[in-house]
Symmetry: C2
Subunit: 688 residues, 2 copies
């Protein structure tokens, strides 16, 4: 009981913190006609995007809920749980976007006061997302579980139903990551190509009809997309742990142990809040904010390690799982290995994507011999950068699994995202700073102000890369935990790789992330084309836009990019959602398990390498722009721009979308497992 009270208290603390930070942000006054007008335009665009997106999400979610309701046992309840998860995830993304568009102009305002003041606003904007989302996730999960507990005696059934919650969250994440990823890069390319190149107006110019879509796009990817992604990981890892735990009858009676996974995420909230309030300060004379942000991650990891050790010793009661005993110590090691593997992945990611280190500098140097060598070195960087994170993940999995079975893997995943409130805060901080810089530029707030926002933004770029590494690592652990939960439900006790069907499934699974990457990369190209057409049309039909006498139709650009993105995400989306259903029905649970394992093997490497290649190209370009190898305007710079353009869909569309592929395929298999078993039996009965 004390555990449940703690969880609710922590959840409420998160909500209170989110409200507090909202007030902090809103209390900054926006002065001046231009800032007000531009901020309004971005906000309008963001809301236009959300209203478009949520229409599609809503329709899709309802249809999918119907499918769940008719095929899955306790379908109605699972469908309700699914819709609640989807709804809460959408609300989080909505609120996060709302505060981000309020925060960016206010960050620009405070940059007139000083770096420390601007940093506070940007960070607080991020914190609204970080704490609000974590709080809602925790409260939503525990409440859903408790309510359905009233209907069923069997804890396993309850947890199966709660898995619907995770599936709902991940379905929204699919739209956020894939659709949003296509959207943001299409808007970026469209705005640049027609505005800068064809019409000859500067970047971030309000006369460009696509400029708002571009600004909105920054938030879409790193706030709505990342938020939905981590919300999904958080909810799904918890579901996985609870399903595996609840499969042990003895455990079902022990409240404190069965709710232990939620408890860990919950206590992360006060730990992150403490870290943020105590240490997230930048001195008035500071010239860089990067150490402050990075310390946040390190400090929260250290404090969290202490706190979870105490909590685990206090509440966790050992239980038997298969032929092993899950002990408090075993679970603790699993938790810590996930937590610290996450930090390690972050450090490695920084090494490979920051231009303070050798890898990015080599990519910059290779640009001197042309775009081709830049591409070759950038791809190599990404491939190489995957080695340590994969090994770290493998070690964490090995430790967790050996000591606490698949339950341990789920706990490791929870460990990795237990500092999610800080992670998301820092992540959402990035686009706010980025947009603040754009607004400062458009409103001509002066060079000093722009320098300050640039300092904020530079730190955001580094932390964005770290955040992506983090998201991928937790996605893999989560996917593996879901895989474990799926095996539990599907009653697969051993998965012999030397069964032909399993091995064939493994090979086919291995090619899926590649196919998915091909689809999403091409989708960016096609969506950008639709955007370019629309901007050209507006300039052609309303020539007054370019003279500044007529307002461009921002909303239409936003709408067109959104529609193109959503249309083009159908194919990759169907690939992810339908493959497990079809493959499982036709070839059975073991083949499906092989498929899932194969998609993890290549998905993990491909996601990391895409994300880091993209980050490396981006920063190699910035390194040259800062003066290396002749600086802007040289052939080396042009070559680096090619790499950066290739890297954009890599790091902002394909790479992060692979997180969703891995998790969503696993949780779809989990939720539909009973239905798939029946479907496969039916298929077998048709054979002679």
């Amino acid at each position: 009981m004390l555990v449940l009270i703690t969880i609710y208290l922590c959840g409420l603390v998160a909500i209170a913190a989110a409200l507090h930070f909202t007030r902090q942000v809103m209390k900054v006054e926006v002065v001046g006609e231009k800032p007000l007008r531009i901020a309004a335009a971005i906000e309008e665009g963001a809301m236009a995007f959300l209203s478009q997106e949520y229409r599609y999400v809503g329709i899709f979610a309802l249809l999918f809920a119907l499918l769940i309701a008719v095929t899955v046992p306790h379908g109605l309840h699972t469908a309700i749980s699914f819709l609640v998860g989807a709804f809460i995830s959408s609300v989080c993304a909505f609120l996060g976007m709302k505060i981000a568009v309020k925060g960016n102009v206010r960050t620009a305002m405070q940059a007139q006061v000083g770096l420390h003041a601007a940093f506070r606003v940007a960070l607080h904007s991020g914190a609204v997302m970080g704490f609000g989302l974590t709080g809602l996730a925790v409260l939503g999960l525990v409440t859903t579980a408790l309510i359905f507990n009233l209907f069923y005696d069997d804890a396993l059934q309850v947890m199966e139903i709660v898995s619907g919650f995770g599936l709902g969250g991940s379905t929204v994440a699919l739209f956020g990551r894939v659709g949003g990823g296509i959207y943001t890069k299409a808007a970026d390319v469209g705005a640049d190509l027609v505005g800068k190149v064809e019409a000859g107006i500067p970047e971030d110019d309000p006369r460009n009809p696509a400029v708002i879509a571009d600004n909105v796009g920054d938030n879409v990817g790193d706030i709505a997309g990342m938020g939905a992604d981590l919300f999904g990981s958080c909810a799904e890892a918890t579901c996985a742990a609870m399903v595996i735990g609840a499969s042990v009858a003895a455990l079902a009676q022990n409240l404190s142990t069965i709710y232990y996974p939620i408890l860990i995420t919950a206590v992360g909230i006060p730990v992150c809040l403490f870290t943020l309030l105590m240490f997230a300060k930048v001195a008035k004379q500071a010239t860089s904010v990067e150490p402050t942000l990075k310390n946040q991650l390190l400090l929260s990891t250290i404090i969290m390690s202490v706190v979870v050790t105490v909590i685990t010793k206090l509440v966790f009661v050992e239980f038997p799982l298969g032929d092993q005993i899950v002990t408090p110590n075993g679970v603790l090691v699993a938790l810590l290995s996930g937590l610290w593997a996450g930090l390690l992945i972050g450090v490695v990611t920084e090494y490979y994507t920051s231009h303070a280190y050798k890898p990015v500098r080599e990519v910059a140097a290779s640009s001197q011999t042309g775009a081709a060598t830049n591409i070759i070195y950038g791809l190599s960087l990404g491939y190489k950068s995957a080695v340590l994170p994969v090994v770290a993940t493998a070690v964490a999995i090995y430790l967790a699994w050996t000591l606490a079975g698949m339950y341990g893997v789920a706990i490791a995943a929870i460990g990795m995202i237990s500092t999610i409130a800080i992670g998301l805060t820092i992540d959402a901080y990035g686009p706010v700073s980025d947009n603040a810089g754009g607004i400062a530029e458009m409103c001509e707030l002066g060079e000093e102000v722009r320098n300050r926002t640039d300092t904020l933004d530079a730190a955001g770029n580094t932390t964005a890369a770290i955040g992506k590494g983090f998201a991928i690592g937790s996605a893999v652990l989560t996917a593996l935990a879901l895989f474990g939960a799926f095996l539990t439900i599907a009653k697969v006790d051993a998965l012999d790789l030397l069964q032909p069907l399993v091995f064939a499934g493994l090979l086919v699974g291995g090619v899926l992330p590649f196919l998915f990457t091909a689809q999403t990369m091409r989708a960016v190209g096609e969506a950008a084309y639709a955007m370019i057409e629309e901007v050209r049309r507006q300039f052609r039909q309303v020539p007054d836009i370019l003279t500044g006498k007529a307002q461009p139709d921002y909303r239409r650009c936003v709408g067109i990019a959104t529609q193109a993105a959503i249309k083009l995400m159908v194919a990759p989306g169907l690939l992810v959602m339908l493959t497990p259903l079809i493959f499982g029905s036709l070839f059975g649970m073991e083949a499906l398990a092989g498929l899932l394992a194969g998609s993890l093997v290549s998905g993990l490497v491909l996601a990391i390498s895409a994300s880091n290649s993209g980050g490396g190209w981006d920063n190699a370009k910035k390194y040259i722009e800062a003066g290396a190898h002749g600086g802007k305007g040289t052939d080396a710079h042009k070559a680096a721009v090619v790499g950066d353009t290739v890297g954009d869909p890599f790091k902002d569309t394909s790479g992060p979308s692979l997180n969703i592929l891995m998790k969503l395929m696993a949780i779809t298999s989990l939720v539909f497992a009973p239905a798939l078993i029946k479907a496969h039996a039916f298929v077998l009965s048709l054979l002679p």
Copy 2:
């Protein structure tokens, strides 16, 4: 006994055919001072390369043989078998190179007579390699097996020793593919960059010190490299099948069934010879030779299907393997599924890499918006192109494995390469035609002659892509069969993916092909740099080279490129050879099996996509050069050149080298399995 006689007869037929085709080629007279001089220079360069390479190969092989001798049971015999395999593979590559450099100038000569005459010479040059190599492989394998049969009673021990033969072949292939792949692209880039760009002399100009290295490079990759690769597949798949077969005691007494794997490869020889002699004709008035070449593959596959059906029914006696019975019908289906999957992979490869179809045309069209979109579309093409080959491989594996266990997988691999004589003929035909074109250009043999060699070369490009797809497919099947043989020796009966160590091994294995690709791609960049330095030095120190008064030092360029290539292949080479030894010693046989499986999952996809992306970029450039999107000199063409340059190391270095990675890791594990088991026991004894 009849089986052995048939094998020897077929092997001798192959040698006779190779001699016959050699005479056919050599009977063409080379007329004129210039052709003689240029041909001599290429031959000198090729031999310079080989003498450099074989020195290193020899030292490495001796050291490795020593390692085998002291660690493996029956180590001395295995080491001898290893050296014999390495020696025969080297001899094949040497003879193939020798006839290729004789054939290219003679093809140019005959192009003055007509297309049909030139085609004959080029094809016959290729056939020397195709039949010579197949014959030596068959004779070498069967003789080694028979000789060691005299020393041992246990057939399994004999086959373990014969596996050394396969390992020897593959070790040479490592040098051929990785070292040769680095070499050929370094020479290519070096010759182009200093010659064309800096000194302003045309392509294929004899004043360029790197031009011979460039011409030699063409042969290195597609003749020596491909030959060693397929020799390895052929020997290894046969070893794998024989090891698995010999593990069944009952079978060891049945000569006809135990030598069945060699028999299949052997009867492929007369089938291919028949196809070649009957159908490889081009009419005097023909304008294209591509259909003739492609028909060779199709016809030999059809005839082979009939022949193997008869042979299997005649000689194969069913035997028990584990809890299943391997029947003649089961083996036949396995064989045919491999044979036809190979053809299917070829067809898919052609679709994705020929500019007659949509994918390459889309890449060409995307070049209009710059190098970045060209790269994105080219990468997508490669990723997508892997789907069908992977599915075809998975289906072949499923069928073969279900019907005849791991023995069936080995037989499927043998099926895929049973038409190797034709495959290699067509493959070696390519660089001969390519060099013939270069010689025709340098000797100013006139436009009509050049058009004819261009026609020959165009067909060679398509068949080269098909050959690569083929080589990858057979490499994967071979690697899997070796994996099966390794499991047999290591006594791993089931490989539970739900063992933490196995899963961790799977993840780590999955990242290895990426690391290997990163290493080989970067190596090309560094080797090219060494080459550029040398060409610049020669121009600087001997200015008379450019005026034509002094001969450039071709041999030195060849030597430097060779040394750079061999130096830079150390890291990827060690990765491949040492990883299984270290990982297996530390973590045991099941973890090692997981690692091997993981490397197959991502290696297969990465190899296909690298090969096809490269082919796609190459042909997109050629499509534009043929006039599409404005033709040569446009921005679209420049963008396509960037893609082509990125594609070069993809398709000629990294992609094909992955074949070796997959096979060599598996056969190293197989040969060292008994030693690794002991080493792991020792490691375990050190633990508390």
